[in-house]
Every structure is written in structure tokens, then in C-alpha cells.
Symmetry: none
Subunit: 205 residues, 4 copies
DNA sequence: ACTTAATCGAGACGGTACGTCGCGTCTTCAC
DNA sequence: GTGAAGACGCGACGTACCGTCTCGATTAAGT
């Protein structure tokens, strides 16, 4: 029992270069800013990273896997939109949606989001694993803010917060993919309905 | 989708075969049940439809356009999930989500949804036009049901119903793409929050 | 009976482009002047010919086959060395060897000869067929000159002239491959021994 | 391959290196029996020899060099065809050609001959040096036999014997490369013409 | 009936990217 | 301080599709 597995994975030969691995991710992130998933090629990534094509295929099984790891591990400068916590959930969410609309609907972010989806929408089981695990990163922020509101008694307890974040976040993700930023009234309604829906019984606007 | 012919006597030579056009759509629908967008090739479609490749390119500009028209014009047996109108919005939506989960999360539907997204997520402006216009077909059903509830006074008036349908529908679409059906509690929370959020002032469960 | 088989090989689809076929051979000939067989690539040939790589693989099974057809069908400007017929076999052969040494041992010709051998020395049965059929083109000239001498009674009849041409020609071919032109005395001895060996009985120098 | 004697225990330098060197040559010889030069890879040699790739590149500059050294230094079981010296040159040469045809035209020998040529036909100057120096090994035997005949007065003196060996040997080498054994009459003519061509003046068959 | 012209299925075309393989070099660990 | 093992950068391989072009055959509409 004390004897761990080790003899089987005994280091032989030159170890894989973590530097190359990282260089590929960074090169991919750099390229994804300006070109679409379709136009991105493994050869281009290899050239940009100063790496042999085979090295890429040694780490990832195909282009989709490279792109997914690049975007999911946050190699990009695609900053998370800030979600404040002033104690007023509705106001915070409205602030969030506004900055979302103004900051996230840039050509570069839209392109990356599309690349993420294009890479994710493969029939590969490994891919599904990774995606359903990581989900979309923004989700974490939202869940955290909602939990804080819950503890503070701002919203009624017991709701499945992942469903609530989906109701709030997923519409923005789809609008992002389509490329058309939603109007302000649309966003306000979204926040309003969800916040109302979460209010403790008897509360009113 | 296809460009119309002017009523003028420009019609010279052999007319385009509407049968071929339809055969392509049907062949595509047939193939999309079992293979992914990536594995689908124009040559394969042409072979399945018993049609020349050029005939496809005479009607559509590329593979994405064929797939989009196939899925958007409902060539598939991907039936719309029924949304009843009993007068009880919450109950109806819960019924809808349940059948959604049990009927829509089949491998074939998931595959088609992914193909739709893969085809839609191109940088092509024409594609965006079509998609943002058609949106997803289910949306229509939802909006209609909500409007009926609004008229009946079941929900408070003045809400942007497209935002509400987004809050309800988009989360299901994303779960569909990922391939994992949501749990029942998740769906219940989603419906509950939205329905509460729409209730007229002062009402309670 | 007048009705030939024809329906089976009925022309369907776009016919293969003989122009492309020829362009490949010419491009290969052009490239072989300056670069070695090893450095020659199918991609380079395709680029030089303005042809898709697949077109090359549609006509030939590999690089060796392209090179062989190029050299064997005489696409190159590798002119045959002249072999005069003055009636004096020994003098004619000496003239021939001299021009051989001075004209054939150029870098370009040496390179082509090596390419021919490199391409020919594959284990492919089809290749052997082609080579043993075509042999080396010079052989024809020699056989013809010897036959003329035989008819004229210059040499004793009944010899296997292909063996004689081998004795005379093959040594030059091997020297060509090695790249070192033989000395004049060497060539003289070669011609001398063979011509003496062919003389009718009782003749002397 | 067994462990070396430990006479000198000061083996700080290269305890196994000469063994590795030899192992590579033997492995190459073993492989060349069955696979062509093209299909032979350095990695395969290394694996067969139980040696690291770098060890090969420490001794030779590339694959061609390994193959050349293997074949030129006679690591193979490609035995030299025996050339008797009974005092009758014509009879000896006929014996030699006959055993040549029956023994040398085996698939294994043909394959090795082709590999030798494939390796030799590189543009590398060092390679040319080695080849033109070593020539083909059989040459030595022939020259020796001819010199013996010359001393014995069997043939007229003063001929450039390297040219004569070329006339006799090179045709066999080329037939070997093509892979088709010559007929008996062909060989007889070859020997006959050369031997006659070497006879002292006035002699006759 | 006869031309004209656009269509049809078929498949080759010039390209581009794929994923693999081999070269010759570099880098680790074990002996 | 070598040597095996094997990853590295590089680049060619042969294949697969793309979207276009070119065949002979087919099909109306306009002579």
C-alpha cells in the first residue's frame, strides 16, 4: 500500500516540454483574438508558437482540444466582467448587465465565444467532460453573488442557484454568440423578473 | 431562401429541379441524425441525395447554408415540444420543461442542435441575419403562451416578453448543447423564479 | 459484332486533363536539372507545374513514378550523344566515347542519371517492368550501329549484340553515376577490346 | 554483444561503444535482407540494434553512411562469387558468370545491391570518395585474375585492366539492379568478346 | 423540327489543411 | 560521462474536402 505506482510511469527519455505546451496555448490565445475558429489551423498555431506540429498532436488530439484548453484555462485577456456586491442585488445585477453589454460585445470577445462553442460542439466525450465541468466561467461569479444575497436574507432561501444563474447568464451567452447586444430594456426585464422571482414572500418593489 | 425568378421571360434553358433541391434537404436531414456537422461533407450529401455537387452549390453558398436551411425549415423529425395553455402558467411551463427534458435530450436531437450551432457560428453576415431573424423556433411558442397569460391578467403587464422567453428557454438550449439534461429541481426552480417574477404585485403562491 | 464494348467505359464526369499531365512532366524535367532526387518533392513539382498535388497522385502512384516517366519519355533536354556511322566501327566508337566523356559528364546530366537510378531502384514491380522495357535509351543507338557493322561484314556474325552493347555502354553508365569521367586510355582500351573481340577470325590490328 | 573483458577497469570513456557500433552494422545488414533502402529507417535500425538513435549519429552522419559502411565492409552474407584460376581464362570467366547468375540474382542480393546504389547516389562528396575508392568489391577479384592471365601470357599485355573489368563486370551489376538475370547466351557472348579482344595477336579460337 | 441555353449527375481540377512519419538534434535518467 | 529512450523543430508525405470547372446527356423555351 505504501508502494505507490511509479515503476510503470518511470521517466524515460526526454520529458515533454512544458514550455512548448504553454507556448501553444499562448499562441492560440493570440490568434483567436483576430481569426475565427474555422480559419485557425494547427499549422498556423505551430508556426506562431515556434513549435512542431507533432508536438501539438502529442499534447492534444485535435484543434478543438487545443482551443478548448486555451479558452477554458483562461489564457486569453478576455477579462471577466465585474460583478459588484453592494448589498443591493438588483442594482448590482443591472450594473453587471450594463458592463456586460458594453464590454463583452466586442468583435474579439464574440469571436472567442464562437470559437469556444465551435470547439465544444464536437461529439467527443472527453470534450463534454471538460465543458460540463468547467461550464462557463462567469457562472462562478454569479453563483457567489447570489449566495451572498441569500445569506444576507435578500432573497428567499432554498432556490437552486445554478438554475438562477442559468436564467440570468445563458441569455447573454446566446446573444453574444449571435453577435447582437440586447437592448437595455431587455436586460432590465431579465434582471427584474429574476430578482422579483427571488424575493422573499410579501416583498414588493 | 432560394432566390426567386423574375416573372419575366428570363426563363431560358432547363429549369432548376425543385426535386433535387428537396432531395438535398432531406438527405441532409437524414445524415444529420447520425453524424456530426464536422463529419458531414458536401460530397456525402450529394451522394446521399443522388445529386451532383454543383447542384448543391447552385442553390446554397456552402455547407453551413445547407445545414441551416435544413434545420431551420424543419425538414427534420425534431418535433416541437408541446406547450399547453390550461390557464395555469406555472403548471403549463412545468409540463413543458418535463417533456422537454424527456423528449429533447435524445442523441439525435442533441446532434442536430449542435450542427445548427456549428453552422450558425460562422462569421458570415448572411447567416447571422437568418439566425437572429428565425431565432430558435421554440421561442415563438413561449412568447405566444406568455402573451396569452398577460392578456388574461395572470402576469403583470409591460414586461419585455422576449427577455422572459430568453430566461426560460436559453438555459435549456445550452444544456442541450452540452448534452446533459438538467435535473427536475433545476427546471422547477427556473420556472418558479420566472413565474414569481412575473406575478402581479402583491400576489403570493 | 460491329457493336463494340463501350457502355462500360462510358465517359462520365470531367475527363482527366492531359495538359496537367504534361505540365507535371515538364515541371519535373525542369526541376531535375538543378535539384537532386532526394531534394525533389511532390509538393514542389505540383507548385512548379501549377497543379494540385492530388492530380499528380491521380496519374502516378508516387514521386518515383513521376521521375521515371519524365526521364524515360525524354522530357529532358538530355540529348543523346551522337554515334556516327562512317564504316569504321573502331573509329566511330572512339568518337562516340570521346563525345560521351565531354558531353555527358556535366553536373546536370549526372544529376539526372542519378535521379533515374534512385527512382528506378524501388522494389515496385511496375517500375521494373518499365525500366527493363525501356532499358537505357542509348542502347538503341549502339545496337543499331553494331547491326550495321555486322551486315557490312565488319564484325563476325552471330554475337548477341545486346551483350556487346552492355560491355560497351554499361561501364560508362556506372562511371556517370559515380560522377568521375573515365580517362581517355580507359575508354580506348574498352573500345579496343570489344572491337577486337568482334573481329572476324584471322583479322589483326 | 556479451560483456567485455574487464582487463582495463579504467573504462571511463566508452565501455560499450564499439559493441554498439558493430551492433548497428549487423542490425542494418539483417534489415537490408528483407526491406528496401526507402523503407529502412534510422529508428528501425536503432531498435533492431538495441541502440539509441544518437549513438548512430555519433558514428555516421546519416542513414546513407550507415548503409554504405554496412555493405562496403561486407557485413552481409552476400558472399563474393568465386572466380577460379585454372589457367584457362575463358573457362574460368564462364564458370564465374554462371555462378554469378545462379547465386547473385536472389531477392536478397538484389535488394542489397539496390540499397547500395540508393545510398551511393547522393550528392555527398564524402560518399563519392568512399564509393569511387572501394568501387565494387568484385572488381578486385577480376583484376587479380586478369593480371595473373597477363603474367602467364594468356592475354596480350598493356591493356588497361580496370577498363576490361568494367566491360565484364558492369553489365552484370546493371542487370542485377534491374533484377532480371541475363540469359546464358548473353553471358557467353560477353565473356567471349572480351576474351577474344584480349588474346595475343594471331591467336584464334 | 431545330436551335439555344441552362440544368442535370459525375468527377477531375487547383488549393489548403489534415494527421502521420522520418530526420537529425537535444535532454532527461540510469549505469 | 556514455548510452537508451524519446521529445523536439522541421518538413514531406499521401488523403480528404472545399468550391470551381468541364464533360456528355437532358429538358424546355424560343425559333
Amino acid at each position: 500500500m505504501a508502494d505507490q505506482v511509479q515503476a510503470e510511469s518511470r521517466q524515460r527519455g526526454r520529458p515533454r516540454s512544458e514550455a512548448s505546451h504553454q507556448a501553444v496555448l499562448e499562441a492560440t490565445a493570440r490568434l483567436l483574438c483576430s481569426i475565427s475558429y474555422e480559419d485557425l489551423t494547427v499549422e498556423r498555431i505551430a508556426a506562431e508558437a515556434g513549435v512542431g506540429k507533432q508536438t501539438i498532436y502529442r499534447w492534444w488530439k485535435n484543434k478543438a482540444a487545443v482551443v478548448l484548453e486555451t479558452l477554458v484555462t483562461g489564457q486569453t485577456d478576455m477579462e471577466l466582467v465585474d460583478l459588484p456586491d453592494t448589498g443591493d442585488l438588483r442594482a448590482d445585477l443591472l450594473t453587471w448587465t450594463k458592463s456586460m453589454i458594453s464590454e463583452a460585445f466586442t468583435p474579439s470577445t464574440i469571436s472567442m465565444a464562437r470559437s469556444l462553442v465551435a470547439a465544444g460542439v464536437q461529439e467527443d466525450p472527453a470534450t463534454e467532460e471538460l465543458l460540463s465541468g468547467a461550464a462557463f466561467r462567469d457562472t462562478g461569479l454569479l453563483v457567489q453573488r447570489l449566495r451572498s444575497a441569500e445569506e444576507r436574507g435578500e432573497i428567499r432561501p432554498g432556490a437552486d442557484l445554478t438554475a438562477v444563474t442559468a436564467a440570468l447568464g445563458d441569455p447573454f451567452i446566446l446573444r453574444l454568440l449571435v453577435g447582437h447586444p440586447p437592448g437595455e430594456r431587455w436586460a432590465q426585464t431579465l434582471v427584474d423578473v429574476v430578482v422579483r422571482g427571488l424575493q422573499p414572500q410579501g416583498a414588493s418593489d
